[in-house]
Structures are given as C-alpha cells and as structure tokens.
C-alpha cells in the first residue's frame, strides 16, 4: 500500500495540457453574434440557441403558456402539419429539440453536412412560422395535463415544487412552469401566439455553432435562420427575493422513502467570492464520493443512496441548494447529520488537503467536458448566456487555483448560514 501511495503522488504533479477549443466570435451581416468552432472530422453540425426569459415571461394569469407554446413549436410549421413536419425532419435524420426552463427557451439542433440546407430550412420554418393549429394545441395540452398530474404524485417533484413555492413565493420561480390544470385549460391560441412573440426574439438570443462548417458560412446561415424573427420580445422579469426561515417543513405524502430538498442563500456568479464558494461546495456536497455530506450520510451511516449540494444560479436568484432521499424512519437522522455538517463547515471550513483535492478535481476535470461537438456547442452558448468573456476557458482554471485556504474559510464563515438552512420534506418522516 505504501508503494502504491508513492506511485500515486508522482502522478499528481502534472495537470493535463488544455484541449484547444478554438472559439471564433462571428458577427453576422444581420447583426447577430455567434460563437463558432470549426471541427471538420465528423460531417455534421451542432447548433444551440438560447432565448433569455423562458417560462418566467408567462403573462399574469397565463402560467404554462410559454411551456405549452414550446411544446408546439415542432408541431407543424408553414405548409407542413405536425406529422408532415416530423416526417420531413426524420427523412433528413436531423434532430431538433425545443425546451424551456425558468430563464430560457432552448433549441438544440444537429444536422448532417449532406443535407444542411434542407435541415436549416425546416428549422427556420418552425422558428418563424409555427402553425399552432387547434388540433395540435389540444393534443399537446393533453400531454401537459398528463405531466402535471404525474408530477403531483411524484415525491421528488412535489418536494421541488413545495420548496420553490416556499422560498420564491409569488415570483414565477415559485410555481411550476407547466402551470396548473386550471391555468392550462384556460389558455387560448392567442395566449400562445403572445407567449411566442414575448419569448422568441432577436434581442435575447445567444448562439453557438460547432462542427463541419466554416466561419464564413456561419453568418449567412444564421441570418437566414433567424432573420425574420421579431427584433424585440417582452421585458425580462424582475429579480426574485428568496426567503429562508431555517425550518424543516413536512409535506405529508404516502410513500416509503422521504425526499428532502434544502437550501439557503447562494452567491452570484460575478461575485469575487464565487470560485471560493464553488470549491467549498465540492468539499461540502459537490457530487463526488469524497464530499463531507456523502461521506457522513452515505459512506459512514448508510442513510441514503445519494446526498448532494449545489449552487443554483438563476437570472433572478442565487440559492445554495441540496437534496437527499432516505427511508421515512431514517430521514430525520439524515437531516440532523446534514445540519451538523453544514454548521461545522461554516465554523471551521475545509482543510488544506480538502482544498487541494477540490482544486485538482475541478481543474483536471474541466477539459473533460469539451469532448464532442454537441457538448462544446452547449458550453459555448451557456458561457455567453452567463456573460463570460471569449477567453474564459483559458483563464478559468487559474481562477480556481487562485483561491487560498484563508479565502475559502472566510467564505465558509460568511456565506454558509446554518441558521437559514431550510428543509422541505415530502413523505411520512418519523420524528420531524
């Protein structure tokens, strides 16, 4: 064992040389900004679009409109009805996916070099002239109802929704973006057209293109794709003011294993302490088997299959959040252990060894993310969305490495708030 340990330390010296991701910022003749990477080895292109605002742009009383509208974008466009559109897409072997979350409507597309023009023309028609025909509206509305009803009986979904409502209140983040049976029932075609006009506009779109395409081709391609979209969408929503009371609230639900969501105030990405907090979270509950929460709750006590903490950065709120699942008769102990670890971390922070481990993990794993056209396109659009500079990738590991033990432990004292750590527990927990 000693011999192996020695061998291991020699491995830790050199970190990998960073993978060259050569990003070019292209401004299209029509004025759109695109981040582009040319990668010619596989004959396809990955395209990502992200429209800021997303489901938070639901008009008052119209909760679920943006979500239902998003589900309809691909259900017929121009001359094609829903099935004709799907057949045309499948015949090209293109893939388009439309999704929506609290802060953005996202479009992910992949298409082959051999039929790129046809695939883009089809995508363009979905984005510029979606049909929103009555038959499709009713069909997709039925699917949304099915999802709403399912979420209402799923303990993890119930926990997430109850926690969000508790901390965000009446802000859009405080309610499920699918809406309710009543609100979705009341939505009209006009509401969906209004939601589309509010959400899908040129003034809020972020774009990345990665793969078998040159920079010179990117500009005309995007102008053709998005040139006819409206210039402006609806005003972006106001920020939220999440509230944490530090209590444990139980939502009764008959199921053998309780699901707990917990959280306290978070930290904005542009704050100087962000990277220290990010490293701190790796040691606290950041997903590895080595985190303190995983070690104490799972490895030492066998109380759960998984316990995690993570920094949630929304446009209008920052929350330090986590989750755990444990049998009804054991979840009380799991929560007590988490509260105790949270308080210990706030009080005494991490050791030099933990900080070093978190740094080598974060810096070493960063290049591993850039391992395909699809993943790279997704990262690039996310960087723009978060306001990162073009050279962020090259400087990111330096920012991680710059965090000192003194800084991270000051951040632990100042930012971790055990007294505000609020739990929402769904199930039949004993002794809570």
């Amino acid at each position: 064992m000693k011999a192996l340990a020695l061998a291991l330390t020699t491995w830790l010296i050199a970190l990998p040389v960073f993978a060259g991701v050569d990003i070019e910022e292209v401004t299209t003749p029509g004025g759109l900004t695109v981040w582009h990477v040319e990668e010619r080895s596989i004959p396809f292109v990955a395209l990502e679009l992200r429209f800021r605002g997303g489901a938070s742009l639901d008009a008052p009383g119209k909760r679920g409109a943006v979500n239902l509208m998003t589900g309809l974008i691909e259900e017929g466009a121009g001359e094609l009805d829903s099935r004709a559109f799907a057949k045309a897409r499948d015949a090209l072997a293109a893939s388009f996916s439309f999704d929506v979350h609290d802060d953005a409507l996202t479009v992910s597309a992949k298409f082959l070099t051999e039929n790129r023009a046809e695939a883009l023309a089809l995508l363009r028609s979905a984005l510029v002239e979606p049909a929103f025909d009555d038959a499709s509206i009713e069909r997709v509305r039925g699917q949304v109802f099915s999802a709403i009803l399912s979420d209402a009986k799923n303990p993890s979904d119930i926990a997430g929704a109850a926690f969000d409502k508790r901390i965000y209140g009446t802000h859009p983040y405080g309610s499920d973006l699918s809406g309710t049976i009543d609100s979705v029932t009341a939505l009209t075609r006009e509401d969906l057209l209004a939601a589309f006009a509010a959400t899908v506009a040129r003034d809020r779109v972020y774009i990345s293109v990665v793969g078998d395409i040159s920079a010179a081709e990117v500009g005309p391609m995007l102008d053709e794709l998005l040139g006819e979209l409206p210039e402006k969408g609806a005003p972006l929503p106001t920020v939220a003011a999440p509230v944490f009371d530090g209590k444990t609230v139980v939502v009764p639900f008959e199921t053998p294993q309780s699901v707990a969501v917990f959280g306290q105030p978070g930290i904005p990405f542009d704050h100087p302490d962000y990277f220290a907090a990010y490293l701190l979270n790796v040691s606290l509950g950041g997903g590895g088997f080595e985190s303190r929460l995983m070690d104490e709750v799972r490895e030492k006590r066998g109380l759960t299959y998984g316990v995690y903490s993570y920094l949630v950065g929304k446009d209008g709120a920052d929350v330090w959040q986590g989750s755990v699942q444990s049998a009804n008769n054991r979840v009380g102990e799991a929560i007590a252990v988490i509260r105790d670890q949270w308080a210990r971390m706030a009080e005494s922070g991490v050791t030099a060894g933990e900080l070093q481990d978190a740094k080598t993990y974060l810096t070493g794993s960063y290049p591993l993310r850039f391992d395909g056209n699809g993943p790279i396109a997704n990262i690039l659009v996310g960087m723009q969305f978060q306001g990162m500079p073009l050279d962020y990738i090259e400087t990111r590991n330096d920012r991680v490495n710059a965090v000192t033990l003194e800084q991270i432990n000051r951040v632990a004292r100042e930012w971790l708030k055990p007294e505000l750590l609020s739990f929402t527990v769904v199930g039949q927990p004993e002794g809570l």
Binding site: L4, N154, Q257, V259, D295, Q325, G364
Partner: protein, 446 residues
Amino acid sequence: MRFFVTSLIGFMLLALPAQANTKDFVSTFTLENGMEVVVIEDHRAPVVTQMVWYRAGSADEWPGTSGVAHFLEHLLFKATDKMESGEFSATVARNGGRDNAFTSYDYTAYFQRVAADRLELMMQMESDRMVNIRLTEADILTEREVIIEERNQRTENNPGALFNEQKRAAQYLNHRYGVPVIGWRHEMEALDLDAALAYYKRFYAPNNAILVVAGDVEPEAVKALAEKYYAVLPANPELGKRARPSEPPQTAERRMVFRDARVAQPYVSRSYLAPERDSGAQKDAAALTLLAELLGGGTTSYMAEKLQFETQKAVYTSAYYDGDSLDDTSFALIVVPAKGVSLAEAEEAMDDVLVSYIERGVDAEALARIKMQLRASQIYARDNVGALANLYGQALAIGLTVEDVQAWPDVLQAVTADDIIAAAKRVFKVESSVTGYLMTPKGDAS
C-alpha cells in the same frame, strides 16, 4: 450502480440504438490470460475512458441471493490489499476524473473518465481490485443499508417501477431475467460477506473480463499497459461455461393488474418474449429493432399516427425492443390512454393496431426514413466516444463479437419489409405475452 443504473431504463425512454461502423478506429486483441481488449481511438480531446466489463450480472446469481451482483459492485469501491476504502474514487477525483459502475442482468461494468495521461494509474487500480478486495463486516452492514435506500429510491417510491418488476417476474417462468437487478428486498436484507465473496471469486477474473479503452490513446501503448497490469493476473480455471436456466415453452397468456394510490396516469402495457441478437445471426433482432421503431418509435410511428393523431385515444404510445441480451429478451408496447378512455378500450385499440399493421404491411417511406436515421446515427455516434465504448463493451459481454458489432449497421440496412412482418408474426403470440394494467386503487376516482 453506485449512482445510476442504465439497465433499469424507464419504459418511456426510447431512442434509436446507437450504431457505429467504426472499423477504421477500433482495434482489438486478447491477452494471454483470456482477457479481451478493445481500443477505440478519438484524438479530438485529451481524454480517455477505461471500462472493465465482467461477463456476470444479476442473472448469473445463485437463487436466494438476488441483488448480490449489484451489491458486490458497490463493495468494489471499498478496500483492497493496496488501497483504503474510498481511495479508488478519491484518487480518480484528485486526478480530475470521475468514476462509477453499473450492473445489469448480463454484466457488471466499472469505468473512469480522466485525462488521457492518467490511463496507467487507472489500469493499476482497476487491475488491483479485480483480485484483491478486502471486505469487512462493517462494510457489509453499512453498504447494505445504502443499496436498500437505492431500492427505495428507484423502486419502492415509484409505482411504475414496482409494476415493471412484477411484469418481468411474470414474463420469465424460469430464467433469472424475472428477478430484479437491484434484488428482492427480503433477499437483499440477508446478503452477507460470504455471498458477496462467493460471487467475486467465481466471476471476477481476467478470462471473464473485457477491457475497453476509448479516447486519445494509441493501441500499441494501451497494449503495453494492459500487458503490464492485466496480463499478469491469473485466469480462473473454475470459471466454467456460462449456462443459465432457459425458458420452457410459454403456453399461457398472463394478465395482471397493479394498483397503487400514487399512480397519476394509468396505462396498459404488453410484452412478448422475443429473440435477442446472437453472434453471426442478428437478422431477427434487426427486424424487431426496425419493427419497434416503425410501430412505436415516436411521432411518425404507426401507433402514434393511429392512436394519438387519428382516433386520439392515447396521449402517449411506444414500442420497445432491446436485442442486446444474452438470452431471450422481450418486445414491449405501451399505451397511455387519453382522458375518458378506459384501459380496456386502450388495450383493444392497441390490439387493433397490431392486427392492422400486419395486414397492411410496412410503409416503404417510413422504412426508408428509419434506415436514413440509422445511417446518420453512425455519424452522430462518432461524436461520443464514451457511448461507443459502451456499445462494444456491452456487445462483448453478451456474447457478440467485434465483427458482429461492425456488421450490425449493414444487417439493419438489409432488413426488408417482409422480414419485419414475418418477425412481427413470430413474436406477437398471445401465449407468450404479459398484459398489465397500472391503475389507482378501486374506488379512487383520481
């Protein structure tokens, strides 16, 4: 698996199987002790994935010890002669990587994703735990609680998962595919050190393992490292032939109703016993793969067209077939009825669709679209070398060869409309089927 089990794929998830005609950048060789090695090159990023697959899964367990294959998988992250408990994953993390493992009916696999220059360290550690684990009673007690919480999370808290478990048990009369990978709860509670070690000693050996290395590596360099770390391990002469109980003729249609207050969306499902991919004989499985796509592979499929668009009796339909199995697999259908449509009506509509599909025959355009998508999926698959590693590892673990994997795209392209209808007629036999209703309790109007 420690975090997630791909073997327990939800019914609702359906995608075209990843195909890859990858002859150009795949090389293979076998070590002297019988361990097979597959190297897949992708030099776009300085990353490597190492996977070690054992030809041993839950269906290889002894009766009464269900869940032991998966339990042992958890225990392989504990101490060895050379490493402390937890040191394996901690070392991977300190090197900027992530590791995990998963267990299915036919195999157990361990993997790490890490910077390419750390491959030797990964091999050193993975080869160590193939033969050197040192378990304590304390490990057993704590980790058993963890797998029971895992069962709670995946199965007990999810009526759909409980329903699937009962359906599989009804589908297989004799084969251990009818026993859940995670284990029956009462047997999991009794799993002990002896059961775990017996499984380990029998199945964990280089002559029962496949090494897959994918990413920014050269085959010669991988070979040198594999010789150094894996070739030195002794083969297990007691391994024996991989033979498991097979199904008798199935002669009785099975019907079941599962009720749970947590059911939000009732549905009907039907599964039929079906042949799997066999080495050198993949044609039937290819026909069934295409049949599943044509019948229930998305919005352009026949079931969606008839039941979601035309009659609007369903909000969701799907057909599912996975031929990647060592022994007989199943072909499954699901119909989630629209509001106001009963499960009996949904089942009748599903049966009508099956009958009319066989009568009407395969739509040539639909078949052409799917073949085009399969061709394209070979291009898209090259963007994800980790998925390719999975594809090869799984195939070899279920008795296929590298040649079978590389022939598969052509076998799929060669399937004709007649092949598909003939395969449908052979598989859709009521006496080998299980029909299940997932419902709310009687008297529950919700």
